[in-house]
């Protein structure tokens, strides 16, 4: 048995184990942490399968961004319910009712997917070959980016439109105004301020690098959104913008001439000026 096979087997076992632990965890916090661990292991699995684009997306979106959002949601739920230990226990029990159906259905879903994959008919059009033939027209050197942003650019644009419509619906239905992050720890605030700028640069780099190597719009946007989540967790993102316009508000509130665009945004305090 080769060393690579041993590693792959260990990875597969660890994936199943972390997925099981995420589902079987008695409390939500532990489940979220195990979900993040699962996402990181899944990133490794994609990297092992020679799919660096999906590995990057999984690391940024699946493990990083979703994990941070889930942790934030946990914190919000705790704050609203006044930290009632009893209320939390009831919630956990309510969640536990769903566990058995989910545990029963997920192997079924996996089996259906495997059968569907094995029985799939041969594609009528050889898409990889078609992409390879037309790479010169796309203007970029990386096939994934060529498909996503060039060959099916309208598809990608409409995806964004659908997401935007969903966001507007959510904001319209949300009870009350979006919540501002609680004023966080001073150390967290300092690091969030310091980290936000490099994260924006990294997002720009990922988008640019996507033209000729793994990277691209999805991963760049995930890093950008992660910067917004980080600022929100540190209580540095203005409340009025909430999740609707975090990035835009963050940028607009820097320049006084653009304040009219986001009238209710309070400018972000510069570092070192106390609260």
């Amino acid at each position: 048995m080769s060393l690579a096979l041993v590693f792959d087997l260990l990875l597969a076992i660890a994936l199943l184990w972390s997925a099981w632990r995420a589902l079987a965890a008695p409390e939500a916090t532990r489940a979220v942490v195990m979900f993040i661990v699962f996402g990181l292991l899944l990133t490794l699995a994609w990297a092992r399968l020679d799919a660096p684009d999906i590995a990057l997306a999984e690391a940024a979106i699946g493990a990083g961004l979703t994990g941070a959002l889930l942790l934030d949601a946990l914190g919000a739920g705790r704050g609203e319910r006044g930290g009632g230990e009893r209320g939390r226990g009831e919630k956990d029990r309510a969640a536990a009712r769903w566990r058995r159906p989910v545990l029963a259905l997920s192997p079924l879903l996996a089996a259906v997917l495997v059968v569907a994959l094995l029985k799939a008919p041969a594609p009528a059009v050889d898409l990889p070959a078609a992409v390879a033939r037309n790479m010169a027209q796309s203007g970029v050197a990386h096939p994934v980016t060529a498909v996503l942003l060039n060959f099916r650019g309208y598809d990608t644009l409409l995806e964004v439109a659908v997401l935007l419509a969903a966001l507007f619906g959510l904001l319209a239905l949300a009870p009350g105004r979006p919540r501002a992050g609680a004023p966080g720890d001073p150390l967290l605030g300092t690091w969030a301020r310091l980290a936000a700028a490099p994260m924006i640069v990294v997002a720009g780099y990922l988008l640019w690098a996507g033209a000729h190597q793994p990277g691209g719009a999805f991963q760049a946007a995930a890093v950008l959104a992660a910067a917004a989540v980080l600022l929100h967790l540190a209580g540095l993102l203005p409340a009025c913008c909430g999740w609707g316009w975090p990035a835009a508000c963050w940028c607009f509130s820097r320049w006084p001439c653009c304040r009219w665009a986001t009238p209710r945004c309070s400018p972000i305090r510069p570092p070192g000026r106390g609260r």
């Binding site: 720890d185 150390l187 967290l188 690091w191 310091l194 980290a195 490099p198």
Partner: protein
């Protein structure tokens, strides 16, 4: 022979990094409370990551790739230091008392 020397140094650094990671993991599993476990993880793993990154940078194809690898280190150190502090602060707020030797109690 600089080529062989770089490979040797890279191997030594990678092994040392693995050793530090091993020490950190043993600490995580064996130390008695959250504070000592954090201590083991944030200290040993930071040093382990530094060794790994330097070892891999020696094998990198280009200077740009090596610098990108080395950039990971300070970023991960900053993140792990802050996260370690935040976890310890939360543990203290939850009233978890630091572990003491039994005879000191």
């Amino acid at each position: 022979m600089p080529e062989g020397l770089a490979t040797l140094a890279s191997a030594v650094l990678l092994l040392a990094g693995a050793g530090f990671y091993f020490a950190g993991t043993v600490g995580l599993l064996r130390f008695p409370d959250v504070y000592t476990r954090l201590h083991a993880l944030t200290k040993a793993d930071n040093l382990g990551l530094g060794c790994l990154v330097l070892g891999l940078a020696l094998q990198a194809d280009s200077l740009a790739a090596a610098l990108k690898l080395i950039l990971i280190w300070p970023l991960a150190m900053a993140a792990s230091a802050s996260v370690g502090y935040l976890i310890a602060r939360r543990a203290r707020a939850l009233g978890i008392v630091p572990w003491r030797r039994t005879e000191d109690r």
